[in-house]
Symmetry: C2
């Protein structure tokens, strides 16, 4: 099954440029040095899926012209990956249905704390409508088109009333393989990567245990995070990312979640091995 | 004391355009119909102040070229006004100090829930560093330059260590007058507007009690919210906004927090009274 992955953002938690920063990377004229927060759009088996929903989600959707969304997969609960979940209200409004979100139970717990108004009963008019599906790193899971029943989205005291059109198309589904990683070497925070056919997208890790590499065989492309050249307490350094790529042995390898502490895109690309590249916002890879 | 107010965003909670919307306003070629979430930059008495810190805060700071920030004033606790508070980390990093935030106690309560990682001890490396000042609608308050002591911002296990440069300039201060409003006619949710000299900025209200109008006399400019033409359960309609403007009697009046349900900017501007205008992102007014 073919897969097309578009990088919607390739920056670290503050994005590049950083507000008020005058460094050479933050002031670079190369548009590839403008990095929104890390996220990818995955078109897979007829479904439209986004991995992570950070603070730039609205801009990312407008820029990529996304008109329909089947699912959002979350890697972990940090703000730069979940800060845009409120923006899914636009899809509620335009598609007249809840948005399916797939995440670990602890991520849902954070969502219930940080977006408590989305979980109140009765539903606050205009609040996001989500359908949260719990997953874990040990079990592949299926994502369906139109996975939710045709319920009312919301109805306010003033009489807003959205009914979903009857769905009469075929329900398609794809299987996705989660890859278990950790954001700190001490395994404090679980992070899920995802494999879609021959492409795997992983970010925000600095520990991946041996058995997970079994899931990463035979890839056309793989992505991993690297914030800066040398050690970071919760992200891979550049040598660690290169070691990961060599071990996985994908045809092409991409780094994402980059900060202004890495060189400008062109300089970094020039120094990397031939089949390793910095990703950039808008880059499309196919598998 | 002169004041300069720049509209950083003039859109309702989803912004304009809405993701996936093909309506005439959302597809307008007029840049004034592109509205980020409502926020203003206020340059007042030598201080740089932002009112509200919504999901577009990073983009707004980059677009306006803001390099220094003395204070953030919050109007209320809704996500389209507080969703960008994490982005203040950039100012922590660049200015080596906490950011001063002024808000009602209930807004701080929401912040503690939605950004719990900013309030943990010991401070998580890289988490936002804020200094929260509680205010209320009944009392004018003062905002100072460099209102915080020269403390360490953060220090991580890996040895990040930022020290603030010694501050040796004069400490200036300005007085700001809060205006008490309500987001629902039943007074469910308190919202503060702010008067800076001869300019007042109010948004997200649909009830302002009689006594507050005393604070709005003699203004050169005033701003109020209007999401759409007819009734909304928590925002002023267009006739209500016009009634408010007439009662205040400012020299110039501006509407903000607009949705795609209002006409395109040029059409709306043409139909409004001569001294009433839709605001737009980037508009500057001076008092």
């Amino acid at each position: 099954m073919s897969v097309k992955l578009t990088f919607l953002g390739t920056g670290t938690s503050q994005g590049v440029p950083i507000i008020a920063c005058d460094c050479p990377v933050c002031t670079s004229a190369d548009p590839r040095d403008n990095r929104l927060r890390s996220s990818v759009l995955v078109e897979y088996g007829g479904l439209t899926i986004v991995v992570d929903c950070g603070p730039d989600f609205r801009l990312q959707m407008l820029r990529a012209g996304v008109k329909h969304l089947d699912a959002v997969l979350l890697t972990h609960n940090h703000k730069d990956h979940t800060g845009g979940l409120d923006e899914l209200r636009s899809f509620n409004l335009m598609e007249r249905k809840p948005v399916n979100i797939y995440c670990e139970p602890y991520v849902e717990h954070s969502m219930r704390q940080e977006y408590s108004y989305a979980f109140t009963e009765p539903h606050y008019p205009g609040a996001p409508e989500w359908r949260v599906h719990n997953i874990d790193g040990a079990h592949p899971f299926k994502v369906h088109s139109n996975a939710c029943e045709p319920t009312l989205v919301w109805e306010s005291a003033k009489g807003y009333h959205y009914e979903r059109p009857e769905f009469d198309g075929p329900v398609t589904e794809v299987e996705i393989v989660p890859i278990q990683g950790w954001h700190h070497k001490k395994k404090v925070l679980s992070v899920l990567g995802y494999r879609f056919g021959d492409i795997a997208y992983l970010t925000d890790m600095n520990l991946i245990e041996d058995e997970e590499f079994e899931k990463l065989k035979g890839l056309k492309a793989v992505t991993i995070n690297c914030v800066k050249r040398t050690g970071h307490f919760s992200h891979f350094s550049l040598p660690e990312a290169l070691e990961f790529f060599e071990r996985v042995g994908a045809e092409q390898s991409y780094i994402t979640h980059m900060s202004h502490m890495l060189p400008c895109h062109a300089d970094l690309d020039a120094e990397l091995p031939a089949n390793v590249h910095p990703a950039y916002d808008g880059l499309v890879i196919e598998g």
